[in-house]
């Protein structure tokens, strides 16, 4: 049998078979019903994801707070104060003098150590903020369909974070004006 003859036979047979069925009018109504059903299911799924993200954020906050509370403020404060060798003092008559850090100063600083403790605990708060940022990233990933856009945002965010960490660690927050 010739190939063209075979092809004609196949085409004819397929067309004759499909002529047997006609699309029913109800089908589109069923499609719309199916769409509504799936839309509802999707809404439920999204809200479920949101609950999960909220749960993880809450977990990260609790984790961060636990870290903050677990810090031994006393010992870290002493450690910090011990590193102080000289103290510059300005008295009431606007006289500036430099003295060695003696016990009295240490004692004063120790009894009024809120500032020092705050400086120490801010590190742990940063951990908490980092966790929050990560989970906010998850949330963005869920919302933004365009993965490329999300990744750009993420990279910019991480670079900013790294820059601020570098400034804090090596330049002590004092960034030179370029």
């Amino acid at each position: 049998m010739e190939m063209s003859e075979l092809e004609n036979k196949i085409k004819r047979a397929l067309l004759s078979k499909t002529n047997e069925i006609e699309p029913s009018e109800e089908t589109f109504t069923l499609i719309l019903a199916g769409l509504e059903k799936k839309q509802g299911h999707r809404t439920f799924k999204t809200s479920y994801k949101h609950y999960m993200i909220v749960f993880l954020c809450a977990l990260s906050v609790i984790f961060g707070t636990t870290l903050t509370l677990s810090v031994d403020v006393k010992s870290s404060t002493l450690e910090l104060i011990n590193s102080v060798k000289t103290v510059t003092i300005m008295d009431k008559s606007n006289k500036v003098s430099e003295k060695n850090a003696d016990e009295a100063i240490k004692h004063t600083a120790f009894s009024d150590n809120i500032q020092v403790a705050n400086a120490n605990t801010s590190k742990n708060e940063a951990v908490s903020v980092f966790f929050l940022q990560t989970f906010a990233g998850c949330f963005l990933f869920n919302q933004v369909n365009d993965l490329g856009l999300y990744l750009r945002f993420l990279i910019i965010g991480r670079m900013t974070l790294a820059q601020s960490w570098y400034n804090n660690k090596f330049r002590h927050g004092q960034v030179p004006a370029y």
Binding site: M1, I10, A13, E20, I21, T27, I31, G34
Partner: protein, 199 residues
């Protein structure tokens, strides 16, 4: 309204445009689904599922001109999934019954020729990938490149599948032609020797 405009409106969530798009493609889609599944009920389910998925994911289409390939990709995959599920749910003995029932449907139609019947039986014997290539090539009038996009495979794979399917169909035809000629010779010899039933 053109296909491109309809798709753009569908992307904005316009159901009236989606209805129009459905009307444009439903007959061809149902035909393809019916040829893949061989059963009317399953074919309608495939079409429904495919159009639902189509509306849900239509926003992902960047080039509306490629809609047909994109849509048939969904339809073919849904079809394969449903056929496999159906075959899995049926007991082993019932698989042949399905083929027989299809054959009986054709024989009940008096105007369908014997050749069509042979083609249908031969197509039913083909594996799903081979059958799909034949359907997309001969029924949907797609070229090799379009079929490769629909099936997500290389053009060479499509060509080889089409070649194998044609070969199998050709063999079935030859076998039937041989049988026919043998039957004709048998009856002519009976007549020659005076063994015809009327004598």
């Amino acid at each position: 309204m053109g296909n491109t405009d309809l798709i753009k409106r569908c992307q904005l969530g316009d159901l009236a445009s989606f209805s129009e798009l459905y009307s444009l493609h439903r007959k061809k889609a149902l035909g393809t689904a019916y040829l893949i599944s061989n059963q009317k009920g399953i074919a309608e389910d495939i079409v429904q599922e495919s159009f639902i998925e189509c509306f849900q994911k239509i926003q992902t289409i960047k080039n509306p001109e490629a809609f047909e390939a994109w849509f048939y990709k969904i339809l073919v995959r849904t079809g394969w999934r449903m056929v496999k599920k159906h075959n899995y749910l049926l007991p082993v003995g019932d698989h042949n019954l399905e083929g027989v029932s299809t054959t009986m449907d054709f024989s009940s139609e008096s105007h369908i020729s014997e050749t069509n019947l042979i083609v249908h039986e031969a197509l039913a014997q083909l594996s799903l990938p081979l059958k799909t290539v034949v359907i997309l090539y001969y029924f949907n009038d797609m070229n090799i490149e379009e079929i490769s996009k629909v099936l997500g495979c290389f053009q060479g794979t499509v060509k080889s599948r089409l070649y194998n399917a044609r070969k199998q169909l050709h063999d079935v035809f030859n076998e039937n032609e041989l049988n026919d000629s043998a039957v004709n010779i048998f009856f002519s010899k009976r007549k020659e020797y005076g063994l015809d039933g009327n004598v």
